[in-house]
Subunit: 604 residues, 2 copies
């Protein structure tokens, strides 16, 4: 197995130098932390991941979570993750002090979670969902709910889940049918089934706290009639003992990847005795859920970015050790008398490795940037500034969720290809990353849904204000390139690509104006690909600029070669990745109207 | 499980109308066959595949081939495939009458194999490798070898393999070290190990015939010292009994996909008693192997094309049954009071399905075209004509191997995405196609190797004659569009894209002229993507033109809707796929020189 799954120097360079954690730390909110204490925390997370996560990664794949006799059997390391994760702040890290958290900047908490994801993506979901469920209780639950559930969850003693999906509704949450019937004591009785419930059951916590969407009897149809409930697996009886709450585990979905991360099917109230407590106000469930959704979607992007990075390191290690074939000589032939060369010396292998590198590091930068905006939203006091960061976060969120998932999968597939036939063999880890990462473009809203969110809501929201702010941010980086002569061509190129985006939006906007919303959104996924590609080009220009400035100022934090490699990667991105936008623009602005006399027959 | 894995009408339309099988049947070589008998054969293969292949597809994945107590355990259906396949001509079909074959056109044999691949890609390799091994004996072996081996192999009683790869050499065949020591009786003793030997051992045939590359003691280093041998698992003793020939099965590689298709590790001559017989002349092994390689590579393309088609049908069936979400109304909102719509009515789902369709059918057309050229090479008597088809086959072969493998994998991933969360679940077949197809861009020379073959050899061979012939063929289709007014814009677009290819070749050629071959070939994989995309655009224009002519001439072989759907798919391809070439051209002609002071440090 590969020995390295991330390069800590790159993570720290991005966190400290590119994304300037110290600026965030200046706010009162983070007065208890400094760069030194944070660096120790990051190192501790890396040590923990080296010892408790990475060594179990392939083993958990070989021993999938499964359903047996009404129970979900998971790898025992899940217990370690919950217990130690609870102790080390992997759940509570970013919660406020007042709620029992460490009040760490999200940038730091994200970096820490990223390390765990890269080490073993089957485990951080167990703590991550507990975090997400606790967050809903903290933000929207009353004091009583908080008192009972939050401390146990932040400590990792009780697990948490999000129960949204139902078999008949899928992504269409407006069609969920799970019912909540009011009881005399103020609680509700729940009846219904939920599927695809990650981390939904296992033996390594004392209880589960399901944050569940249901309809109170008589509620309006559609999304307006959905409420959010706390549904524990075991409820407290009058004597304070945990007793069963009529939540039955009906099965565990067997999957292509992430096999150590259970995906359960839960049945609520089969015996008409499943008690639940309303979170916040009735019929606001979807709103609450979506207020937390940015975090969940950034978490998905983070996981995919981490897998792409781990796969990059695995294939890089192979390419640096495997001799095969020879370099071309001056006559264009290979000389069999020469010793074989390492495959990293073949241009096509280098291209595949660099593709992985720019996707993995570019994705990480995206994720950290989103976390930075989250921190600033919490920290700034000026309302205009707060709105700015809120809108920047809004428009970036679908990109942060989608780019690492989609391009990360492409990157991992290139990593597998680097190994040739061995890449297809179970003995090598690349095929596992290839399977694991495939779910990320489906989790928390598919790429299609994210793309409609981007083009249908985020780009147009507040008359394009979010987009305007983002363009300003990019313009700031372009401006900063002005002083560095050899960066000017890249800045100009990116400037031109931004104009292409404007042209595409103007073209598509014509359809929206005439009420043809279906046509406006039909190619939303292509627009996402175009937009995300350009946003990541901006990230690379920023990364390279930071490195270049370090070189120019003789900053010795990292080696010259380290900084040079970041500038080189930016050039690679512009040559091989950014160029792809040309084709996307051509497709998006193609006037072709694809019709056929009988629409249904198109698939014959 | 999906009920349909191919659309027989589309296969026949491509075989009979687009690729004009009847033209090939006019040659003397195929005088014993007519369209009617061939149609019966195709139908029989489909029936067989429905009954004996498709029903075992998921089962074979769940019960992988594996190594136990020195033996390889495979699914019993392997036995059915070898026996019935032998009887039905799945091995001998395209062999000459004189060699015991049915002398079918390769176009027909390919179509038949394609049906089998689509039904269950784990099984046709067993007969396919037996075919390939027998082909080498028939073409290059002496009468004695032919007498002993060929009939048993064509009947499926003995299995065949290709033993090329060794652990230390991988794709670099010039580095193989397996040795062949001449014996007094004219035979050789073999010593060495071979890995990744598909269909290398199982209990359902009486013997195995390995066609193996080795070096005769004292032979030249590199590819010039490699010879081809027949190495049976059991050899005939003087009494005519089969006795062990010191071929040991050392293991079976466990893999990401194609789990029912064993991938063995074989050891030859561990007891110094492994006898082998030279095929043809000494030191000509690689040449012989490569004379057969076109067939093997087209076979890989065919398999990938078939998986892409099967996955398309599986996701299409799901999309036609699954209700979820609603269409946008005139206000751009969804109306929750409406019933849910089928997901096939969502534009993004349609886009994913059409992407699959154009890749799958375009790939099939490529594969049939290559087979057609193979038939013509065998049939025409005029030497100039023969050279033309030979060169066309040469330049198309890397494309036929690569496009279905690479774009097929993308298509299958889109198919998985159509199913949302269910696509990731083992219960649904899409995740299996996703795993199975991943090997095809590695088999028989990776995409990187095919791309270097295309740009480094095929495009430049005979001063660009092969490319010239291909451009002529494409020009013929463009010419034929001239009479059909609404096809003119597509013909013009393709014409322009061909000019782009010329410009790219001129730009890259500059590097070759100055002896910078490494730079010339560095982006060969991108050139492949560009070139293949344009070749498939030509295939779609040809398919659509054939359909359009059928509509204009009121040809009732298929329904109007059928023909319309092909024209529609061509338009989709031009809008969404052909457009991608713009970005590739931009990358390929980018003057950026990616250097860094210390080349090795680029991956920090």
């Amino acid at each position: 197995m590969a020995k390295q799954y991330i390069d800590l120097a790159t993570l720290k360079f991005l966190l400290y130098q590119v994304h300037q954690l110290k600026e965030v730390l200046q706010y009162d909110r983070y007065a208890d932390h400094d760069l030194e204490s944070i660096d120790l925390f990051i190192n501790a997370v890396k040590d923990f991941s080296d010892q408790e996560l990475f060594p179990y990664f392939q083993e958990m794949d070989a021993q999938p979570a499964h359903y047996k006799d009404g129970k979900i059997i998971v790898h025992p390391q899940v217990g370690v993750m919950m217990k130690k994760g609870g102790e080390m702040g992997f759940i509570s890290g970013a919660f406020d002090f007042k709620d029992g958290g460490l009040q760490l900047p999200l940038m730091v908490f994200t970096a820490a979670s990223y390390i765990q994801d890269a080490a073993n993506n089957h485990l951080p979901g167990y703590t991550g969902l507990t975090l997400g469920a606790a967050e809903l209780i903290v933000h929207f639950g009353n004091a009583a709910l908080n008192q009972i559930y939050t401390p146990k969850m932040l400590a990792g003693e009780w697990g948490g889940t999000m129960c949204l999906t139902e078999p008949q509704a899928g992504s269409s949450l407006s069609d969920i049918t799970t019912s909540a019937t009011p009881q005399a004591d103020g609680s509700y009785h729940i009846k219904g089934q939920k599927i695809f419930i990650s981390a939904g059951d296992h033996e390594y916590v004392d209880n589960f706290v399901h944050l569940l969407l249901a309809r109170i009897d008589g509620a309006a149809p559609g999304t307006k009639g959905i409420s959010l409930f706390v549904v524990p697996k075991k409820r407290l009886d009058d004597a304070g003992n945990l007793v069963p709450n009529d939540v039955i585990t009906a099965g565990d979905f067997q999957k292509l990847g992430q096999k150590g991360y259970c995906t359960t099917h839960l049945m609520f109230g089969e015996g008409d005795d499943c008690k639940a407590w309303l979170v916040g106000e009735a019929n606001q469930g979807l709103k609450y859920m979506f207020l937390m959704m940015n975090g969940a979607r950034i978490g998905v992007g983070r996981g995919a970015a981490a897998i792409a990075m781990a796969a990059y390191h695995a294939s890089l290690a192979y390419a640096q050790e495997r001799p095969q074939g020879r370099k071309l000589t001056a006559t264009g032939k290979k000389n069999p008398d020469q010793a074989q060369t390492l495959i990293i010396n073949h241009p096509d292998v280098r291209r595949m490795l660099l593709l992985q590198k720019v996707v993995a590091e570019g994705s990480l930068s995206l994720v950290l940037l989103a976390s930075r905006y989250q921190d600033l939203i919490k920290s700034v006091t000026d309302e205009t500034e707060k709105e700015r960061y809120t809108l920047l976060l809004e428009i970036l969120t679908p990109v942060v969720k989608t780019y690492p998932s989609e391009m990360g999968a492409t990157a991992v597939s290139n990593g597998l290809q680097v190994l040739g036939g061995y890449g297809f063999c179970s003995e090598y880890v690349l095929q596992q990353y290839h399977r694991d990462i495939r779910i990320f473009s489906i989790y928390e809203g598919t790429t299609g849904i994210q793309s409609q969110d981007l083009l249908g809501r985020k780009v147009t929201m507040k008359a394009g204000k979010a987009l305007g702010y983002l363009v300003e941010e990019i313009a700031g980086t372009l401006q900063a390139c002005a002083t560095i002569h050899d960066f000017q061509p890249y800045a100009n190129k990116l400037q031109q690509k931004l104009k292409d985006v404007q042209a595409v939006l103007q073209f598509l906007g014509g359809f929206a104006k005439t009420g043809n919303y279906e046509r406006y959104l039909a190619d939303a996924t292509l627009f996402m690909e175009l937009f995300a590609n350009i946003v990541v080009a901006w990230r690379w220009l920023d990364i390279a600029l930071t490195a270049k400035k370090a070189l120019l100022t003789n900053d010795k934090t990292y080696t010259e070669a380290f900084y040079e490699s970041k500038v080189h990667a930016m050039k690679f991105y512009f040559k091989y990745e950014l160029a792809k936008t040309a084709g996307l623009v051509e497709s998006l602005m193609d006037k072709e109207v694809l019709t056929i006399p009988n629409e249904k027959k198109v698939f014959i």
